[in-house]
């Protein structure tokens, strides 16, 4: 459960306070808004990348603000999209005249609030484009209806690297959309998280069971199944993700095995051993795998597998340097 807090209604503000104090070498508070922006932003002539959503998912989103990734993260309350007003202010703060790309998870609240901000900014002459992340194969049949989970990381990395090398807004948007089109994720949950100030978890999972199709917001999964061994879980995750592989996407993939708060690194490595072997057995070439915590849900227990089918251009962006509080790559 969430134990460290003072007044739960001040949780977000205090979190932003501590985060900006710790990482002032990367970023600073957006004046008069619930957001953090990279040092050096706005950079005239450079496309700005704006990310955001509810908090409780660190390192998504604020942890990815810095060089080579996002220019600004708008920070909502725990599991709550930031309001259009906050998104608007953050957009104004980072626009460098070359336009702003929004990328965020496809949730009703986020779509509404980011959508309102986008309209308002467009009306004021700021060119804003949006790529909503829809990686979770468990969340809907139609890709456009799917929600975003840990695959967020790939889109933030792609957009950030594209903007950092000076691409136009058209190109940043097109590349980020291409990354989203080529990303698939699937997750499972073993236990729910507890919001600050609450004493009961959002949901519980019977011991001996697991929830298939986790939500990153503590929502229960799509259905229950009997708990299985790491090897069986690896097989299931790989099968489900590959069954939904994008057409004609080649055979080179970036791999991200994401752990939620209470499922730890050692367990992820045990699971990863079979995931790696099975992906290779299915003919894929694995590029720079990542195993760790990349998109959380407070102290929820669970994990997800995300694949991004790379082409040369996406790979170049994926391999580009980045330096942020939560992800640094040389």
């Amino acid at each position: 459960m969430t134990r460290l807090f003072n007044d739960p209604t001040q949780f977000k503000e205090e979190m932003i306070g501590g985060f900006t104090l710790a990482y002032s070498r990367y970023l600073r508070r957006v004046p008069d808004a619930a957001g953090v922006m990279a040092l050096g932003a706005p950079q005239p002539g450079k496309v700005a990348v704006l990310i955001g959503g509810g908090s409780g998912h660190y390192p998504v989103f604020a942890g990815y603000v810095g060089k080579g990734m996002a220019d600004v993260a708008v920070i909502g309350d725990v599991f709550t999209s930031p309001s259009g007003e906050q998104i608007y202010r953050c957009t104004k703060a980072v626009d460098g005249g070359a336009g702003v790309l929004y990328t965020y998870g496809n949730y009703s609240g986020d779509v509404l609030n980011f959508g309102m901000a986008e309209m308002r900014c467009q009306n004021e002459g700021i060119d804003v484009r949006t790529v909503t992340v829809t990686d979770d194969v468990a969340s809907a049949e139609d890709v456009e209806d799917r929600r975003g989970i840990a695959g967020d990381f790939f889109m933030i990395k792609t957009a950030g690297a594209s903007a950092a090398r000076g691409d136009s807004l058209d190109d940043v948007e097109a590349l980020t959309r291409r990354a989203n089109d080529r990303t698939r994720s699937f997750g499972i949950a073993f236990g729910g998280c507890t919001l600050p100030g609450q004493s009961e978890p959002l949901f519980t999972v019977d011991p001996g069971k697991m929830e298939l199709g986790l939500g990153l917001h503590g929502e229960p999964g799509i259905k229950s199944a009997d708990m299985a061994s790491a090897s069986e879980i690896a097989r299931m995750m790989v099968d489900i993700v590959l069954a939904d592989a994008p057409a004609d996407a080649g055979h080179k993939v970036a791999v991200l095995l994401n752990g939620l708060g209470s499922t730890k690194y050692e367990e992820l490595f045990v699971l990863y051993k079979d995931i790696h072997a099975q992906l290779e057995a299915s003919g894929l070439a694995l590029h720079n795998p990542l195993v760790g915590e990349f998109a959380g849900s407070l102290n929820m227990a669970g994990c997800s597998l995300s694949l991004l089918w790379l082409d040369d251009e996406l790979q170049a962006l994926y391999d580009a340097p980045a330096s942020t509080p939560a992800f640094t790559h040389l």
Partner: protein, 209 residues
């Protein structure tokens, strides 16, 4: 109550009180198939709405309600922050100087339509609309029957309640819980419950001498 504005402010204050009292219940309802933040978000939004309403100037109700709605949207966040805020703001903006029953009805209808449009929702999707839409239809009936605004609001409230209750047996078609399919059946929709509490708090205010 001496002015429309005062009455509107009193409505907002009573909605806030009702929502604060229901915070835990709303959180629990949202935890069933959503992410548990609905109680906190509604309270945050209503506190801001109340503050904005209290400091709004003039004698008319419309601007007070509009200010409350804008403040709600800015403070609450989330799906319900955007939708309830736009609902309230639209009602306020649509309410003209002489709020007879027909005008009130048209204003609420304008608010409901904005929610349907922004949220791409219709009745039966297990959202706040399942409370609000039957309420508007009943308000229309009341207007046709020539009831006063206060009478009309009380007349329409049971339709809102039935609409809210009907969400328990619906499968979610919109919002976070829509990803759960059949698993979303069985719980009341938190936004439908909030909507009902808001409407009921207004009825209570109007009926207080």
């Amino acid at each position: 109550m001496s002015t429309q504005a005062k009455l509107a402010k009193q409505c907002v204050a009573n909605i806030l009180a009702a929502i604060e009292q229901a915070e835990d219940e709303l959180a629990r309802l949202d935890a069933f198939a959503g992410d548990g933040d609905h109680g906190a978000g509604m309270v945050r939004g209503m506190r801001a709405a109340h503050e904005a309403a209290q400091t709004a100037e003039g004698d008319l109700a419309g601007p007070v309600i509009a200010a409350a709605g804008t403040a709600f949207t800015n403070a609450a966040g989330g799906a319900s922050g955007a939708l309830f805020g736009m609902f309230i703001a639209t009602v306020g903006q649509s309410l003209n100087a002489a709020p007879d029953t027909e005008n009130v009805c048209r204003a609420v209808e304008a608010g409901v339509n904005v929610v349907c449009k922004l949220g791409k929702t219709k009745v039966g999707d297990k959202t706040m609309i399942d409370t609000l839409m039957p309420f508007v239809r009943a308000l229309e009936e009341a207007a046709q029957q020539g009831l006063t605004p206060v009478e009309a609001w009380s007349y329409a409230l049971p339709a809102a309640k039935s609409g809210m209750e009907a969400t328990a047996d619906m499968v979610s078609g919109r919002g976070r819980s829509s990803r759960l399919g059949e698993r979303s059946r069985g719980g009341l929709d938190p936004g439908a419950v909030s909507a009902y509490y808001m409407l009921r708090a207004v009825a209570d205010t109007l009926n207080t001498p």
